[in-house]
Amino acid sequence: MRKEILEVLEKNAKIETTDLATILNMDKENIDSEISKMEKEKIICGYHTLINWEKTNKDVVTALIEVRVTPQRGQGFDKIAERIYKFDEVKAVYLMSGGFDLTVIIEGKTMKEVALFVGQKLAPLESVLSTATHFVLKKYKDHGMILEETKKDERMIVSP
């Protein structure tokens, strides 16, 4: 039951629970209670809207930063990750395998603002060995959605 609910919500957080109950052929009360349970258990961590800011007046610059760090004894990478993810500018932090340790995704109003954040807040942290900043120039697809796609129904209007 949880899997079905989550798979729908993942694609459409806006769906009403009455509709959810109809399409999954389940009881509305059960769905409501299951969702609130999953919220409490932090299985559902939030509800977001996927926005293409490019089409608005608001300027948003996104950067992906490769960070190499020294893990700390007894705490591994968690402590340093926490010091990084607590900044509001930081949208995502992932621990990586391979050539660097953390992927940090930052959003700011301008490239300068992002660069300053890296230079003044991120790089100076004690355990940070190095950073490499990559700015996002265009988003084609995000969270499984193709941003610019316009879909036209190419099918004949009726067919057997």
Partner: protein, 387 residues
């Protein structure tokens, strides 16, 4: 124009009941249609990509008549894996231009003039005309809603004569969405074997069942040697435009079908065959995703139609709903024509699939949730004033 150019045989075939709605609907603007018989999903990209790659590599020549050996091999393996049926890829499988060509080939390969072909209706539109074109005599079995549009042993027995040679079975069904389960198939198989009848089993919607897994009549004891399975890529992998299907059955019949196929068609499109190999090898997850989406839409439609006060048996396969509109006291044709004119929603009258479809309409749910909701809202308004 030359006199008597068109044969009487073709002149006798009535135009499809769907044509009329196509003509009206295509003249109107902003029509919301629940009238199509094909998936709304694009062919999954990895499959399309393989088709493109085959063109880049220069795979632009004929293939062997019956289809690429690798494709037939994969079809055979998948049929065994999914339905427990084993067919020899080289002698018992033929790749055809959609399921439709397979049906035509089989009828032409089997029928002698006067042979009777049993066609349970409502059903897909091509069985009857193809039977007539092949010189056979179609005999309609009207399926009943009270039997959930399944074929019963009693009904079958009633229509069998000395001349009966073929029985069409098409489950999951277009247009009703009915399926037939193992025990139900076993019941009719007894009669089929006893009366020595051959079955053409159109299983093009086999992958699209909800809750219950598809059973092929060929898997019932004694039936494999008297069954031709028609299947294809159109519905399962959303590949209608690629025109690729296949037929599996006794080698004698496949051999005869291949003779007609090699002169009439030569072989199916090569790029489609390469794309199909990718589909059948790596497409299970795509099917699962689409099935989940169809099932959710099915739940929506059943619940909405029942709330509107229309009787509607629960379809367990394909992507159609076949609600009864008898409460409106309109014929299916009137209902659909009025609905199209008044609310600009296109659905297909059940009569397009045979006379026994009177009193029913076919609504396809191969549409996005948003389109379905819009259409349902309009149908609800339409019905409110009429029941």
């Amino acid at each position: 124009m030359m006199k008597n150019l068109i044969s009487k045989r073709v002149q006798a075939i009535p135009p499809s009941g769907i044509r009329k709605f196509f003509d009206i609907a295509s003249q109107m603007e902003d029509v919301i249609s629940l009238g199509v018989g094909e998936p709304d999903f694009d062919t999954p990209w990895h499959i399309r990509e393989e088709g493109i790659y085959s063109l880049e590599k220069g795979k632009t020549f004929y293939t062997s008549n019956a289809g690429l050996p690798e494709l037939r091999e994969e079809i055979s393996k998948t049929t065994y894996r999914k339905y427990g049926l084993s067919y020899d890829p080289l002698s018992q499988v033929i790749v055809t231009v959609g399921g439709s060509e397979g049906i035509d080939l089989a009828l032409r390969a089997i029928l002698e003039p006067g042979d009777e072909v049993l066609i349970p209706e409502p059903c897909f539109v091509s069985y009857k005309p193809c039977t007539v074109l092949a010189g056979g005599t179609p005999v309609t079995i009207p399926l009943k809603e009270e039997n959930n549009f399944k074929l019963t042993k009693e009904q079958l027995e009633e229509y069998i004569t000395e001349k009966t040679k073929i029985l069409f079975l098409a489950f999951p069904s277009n247009p009703t969405g009915a399926i037939m389960e193992k025990e139900e198939l076993e019941a009719i198989a007894k009669v089929i074997i006893e009366k020595d009848i051959f079955v053409i089993s159109d299983e093009i919607y086999a992958e699209l069942t909800y809750g219950k897994k598809h059973t092929s009549i060929a898997s019932i004891d004694g039936m494999k040697e008297r069954t031709l399975i028609i299947n294809g890529f159109s519905k399962a992998y959303a590949m209608t435009g690629w025109r690729l299907g296949y037929a599996m059955g006794p080698s004698e019949l496949i051999k005869a079908m291949t003779i007609i196929h090699q002169y009439a068609i030569m072989c199916t499109p090569t790029a489609s065959q390469y794309a199909a190999i990718e589909a059948i090898k790596n497409g299970d997850e795509d099917i699962e995703k689409m099935r989940t989406a169809y099932n959710q839409r099915r739940n929506l439609l059943v619940s909405r139609f029942r709330n509107m006060g229309l009787e509607c048996f629960e379809p367990e396969g394909a992507f159609y709903l076949f609600p009864s509109i008898q409460k409106t006291n309109m014929t299916a044709d009137e209902f659909c024509t009025e609905l199209l004119k008044e609310q600009k929603v296109a659905v297909i009258p059940g009569t397009a699939f045979g006379d026994s479809g009177e009193g029913f309409i076919r609504c396809s749910y191969a549409y996005s949730m948003n389109d379905l909701k819009k259409a349902l809202d309009k149908i609800e308004i339409f019905i409110k004033n009429r029941i």
